[in-house]
Symmetry: C3
Subunit: 192 residues, 3 copies
Amino acid sequence: RLSHNSAQSLRSLNTPISADAPRTSPPLFARVTQRLEMPEVMQMIDSEVFMAFTTYATIVTLKMMFMSPLTAYFRLTRKAFSNPEDCRSGKTAEERKKMLRSDPDVERVRRCHLNDLENIIPFIVIGLLYSLTGPDLHTAVLHFRIFVGARFFHTLAYVVPLPQPSRGLSWMVGVGSTLSMAYRILTAVLFL
Amino acid sequence: RLSHNSAQSLRSLNTPISADAPRTSPPLFARVTQRLEMPEVMQMIDSEVFMAFTTYATIVTLKMMFMSPLTAYFRLTRKAFSNPEDCRSGKTAEERKKMLRSDPDVERVRRCHLNDLENIIPFIVIGLLYSLTGPDLHTAVLHFRIFVGARFFHTLAYVVPLPQPSRGLSWMVGVGSTLSMAYRILTAVLFL
Amino acid sequence: RLSHNSAQSLRSLNTPISADAPRTSPPLFARVTQRLEMPEVMQMIDSEVFMAFTTYATIVTLKMMFMSPLTAYFRLTRKAFSNPEDCRSGKTAEERKKMLRSDPDVERVRRCHLNDLENIIPFIVIGLLYSLTGPDLHTAVLHFRIFVGARFFHTLAYVVPLPQPSRGLSWMVGVGSTLSMAYRILTAVLFL
């Protein structure tokens, strides 16, 4: 363990030009994977991978948050609400009562939102942990791009709606990207 | 603030008393932003920001978890269940069948719970990533406090219920805090 | 375990053999807790705790993702869909319209999925933050195992379904594990 973390192997990776230059210490997962006895595939928190994850996770979370105002838009235009206190635009009590109904377009957006929660949250959890296992930058960015692209297309296919199997396939592509990252995590870090 | 985050102040924070004492290296995101060629705006994992995030994220997650027993309370007092196996308090088969119904109060708490999932999870994802971009402590804590306060008020406004637009406004304040943090992330770390 | 986490052992871990060798700095939360003036219970990112969290979080997230294909399976075998574009297997327009219905088995799986979102996501958020507070490895792994075991049993009890209170108790065990970790976080890191 000690020799693994030794100056020797670390220097070969992080060697500063001058001996006086500040030295970086091995990041968390470098040490983790050294315990896993993979000194040659020295994995580390690849800062660029984590930055890419941060960017894509933020974008896809914003997309998910956008479903709330979209639901509100359909509720207001279709005049279909769930809560009596939301029906203020109705003039008479009877009109307000009629607005307490479920509308197919509203329900469609709500299902799309729930599907986002069911898929985007696993992506974020698994993508975060995956980013810490030191994957190759291009492989990681490819995973993130495929997932985020698939989810944008999924929303389009759900809300328009496009004929099946466009929605089903985009869902599957997103799940595939997440499963591929989960496989990488479990093969790299399994600790039961 | 700039001078606060500069290499100078970083050293003054981490400098050991004696030159032989172990030296702390710049944390992860300090190195990240160095690559971004912002050596003067040296951002770092501000431990206090991360502690504040940890505290507020835990509190607001506990608030979200509290919606489950609240739903159970309304189901038991309103005698309105979704699953046949939950209707054990009914004595006759007919009585048990009558308990398989949806109740407006139960549905209200459930919508509030789902709204929490739709809003608190984006806050936690974006707040975590935001905490790693090295924001100013006071700005960060302000974001966390506003969000958590808004969500507590939102739950109150939803469950009581308070007349609109109290619920709508508290929802908007929470979303505003999250969007502001997302803007900061994307301007600081964009890596597509 | 205390001696393990003590300043002594930390030094022996991080002290370089020669003064010229690069030095590893105490990890993030070690410094955090030093500020909290707990130098003797020096907490640190225990890499093994984080690896264990990564493993269990990935497994339980995969379990949650599995609810989607399970829902699809019940939708296809029960011929009960929510979206008109999903009813392509119907030959006549009338047959397709009849497939737009809600089925008790489908709704059961969907409730189970939503319950997963309501419970597994808090576990992941709180478990991640808890892993960073430097808990004892055995305590941490116990928390993770109990939670993940309880949630697998919960799914079984919900989908079969098993008679109550098996589902209620497994839900409670999972919540108990999460609350116990949240208590640890708030006592270790409270920063309001």
